[in-house]
Point group: C2
Chain length 248, copies 2
């Protein structure tokens, strides 16, 4: 648990290079697109294993994730790292309400990612102008909060197998909900390393490996390269105690 802050893949420092590309807003409601378009910055392409922002840094930008997955995490003074959330395309990252000074977590690109940045100030202005944008952001926060609480329940009270099953079931559900995979898909892209799964579940990479191996031997999962096949979604959800909620 000590090799973390500059761990296996010699986690290079953050870097992000502007790129031009068209895409839709997946988070901001349609009615604000015009206003939002004028405020958003260029898009950024972020290489795998680089951080978009880091704990303790200035919180002057928020982002919408367009492509790729990101791992949001927090680490303590001993270098132990705890995953907070896996951000999928369409997710909103790094938002901080007015008056906040620094951000409390870091964001790491799991694979190559594309994000679109907004200045926080711009968002705050928009919120005062469009009251239902404020309501929308409030909803997003509440949804993340609920998910965060589910993870707390897992970290505090579930076994390793349950936590991992929950994580996979949740990701599978979220990908389907956003139509990033077909509704009847039986497999999904899975760019997370076992170490990252361990970060999310509060487990050691070694123990994560053992448990995933067990799930495979039980015929629940099947993994090939960076894909994961869910052989029995029912059992997976039952093991993990995962109950899909409306939004995802």
């Amino acid at each position: 648990m000590s090799r973390f802050l500059t761990p296996r893949s010699q986690r290079t420092q953050c870097a992000s290079c502007p790129v031009r590309q068209n895409a839709l807003f997946q988070v901001v409601p349609l009615s604000y697109i015009e206003d939002a378009q004028s405020r958003r910055t260029d898009q950024y392409r972020l290489a795998a294993r680089r951080t978009l922002y880091e704990e303790g840094g200035q919180a002057d930008m928020a982002f919408t994730l367009f492509e790729g997955w990101m791992l949001l995490y927090r680490s303590d003074s001993d270098g132990r790292r705890q995953g907070l959330r896996i951000a999928l395309p369409g997710d909103f990252l790094g938002y901080m309400p007015p008056g906040s000074t620094h951000i409390h977590h870091s964001a790491l690109a799991v694979n190559n990612a594309v994000v679109c940045g907004f200045r926080q100030e711009g968002l705050h202005e928009m919120m005062t102008r469009h009251p239902d944008l404020a309501a929308h952001i409030t909803r997003i926060q509440a949804r993340y909060m609920a998910s965060c609480q589910s993870h707390m329940l897992g970290l505090g009270r579930k076994s390793a197998e349950q936590r991992i099953a929950y994580l996979v079931a949740e990701l599978f559900h979220r990908l389907k909900y956003r139509r990033l995979i077909a509704a009847d898909a039986t497999s999904m892209p899975f760019p997370l390393t076992q170490e990252m799964v361990g970060d999310m579940t509060g487990l050691t990479p070694v123990h994560t490996n053992r448990v995933m191996r067990k799930l495979r031997s039980e015929g629940v999962l099947q993994s090939e390269r960076s894909r994961l096949e869910v052989l029995d979604p029912e059992v997976l959800a039952r093991i993990g105690g995962f109950v899909p909620e409306e939004p995802a």
Copy 2:
């Protein structure tokens, strides 16, 4: 871990009786008090060990806690319970953004408590009318989110002793920050049972006891009835890895 849903103190179902009493809003900014006064309901007095609301219920009311402590928790299908947050006087509970149907956690009165209720709809109306109230609520959510993330770090990566030390240090800090105890106080009211401490830290009551005993024998804490004396705040914060953040 199975005796929980109707545990030791035969946790009676929720009940709340209206009461009349004057008090200030501690959460809503002054400028909205007039509007808020017209929207708030009466205050409610809640006996110790009763729930204010429960997971899965309708989310039609939000509350400001005036007196007493509350334990917000979530439980899974096996009856295991995980504490999410200790609400102290001045805290805001049960808020759900527009469109939410049911609440995802339960709120239990640790000791006798007094809350003031607001209809969610009323809050939503106010938010559209007063954009900075929306910003304020957003800030509150972000603060709870940050605290929630700190707890995730603890649940996932810290030892039992560290988690308990963190919890106590955090409560001590929050009480001081809100001037619920003097800035130079060396002790605080501590109505939590060891079981509740275990709920918050993801530990068994039994193991919680052992660890608290250890902290006492190390001369860090001292407990009498429902008070806790912090003999060495420095060491406590260092053990728990607690770093006070601006708001609390």
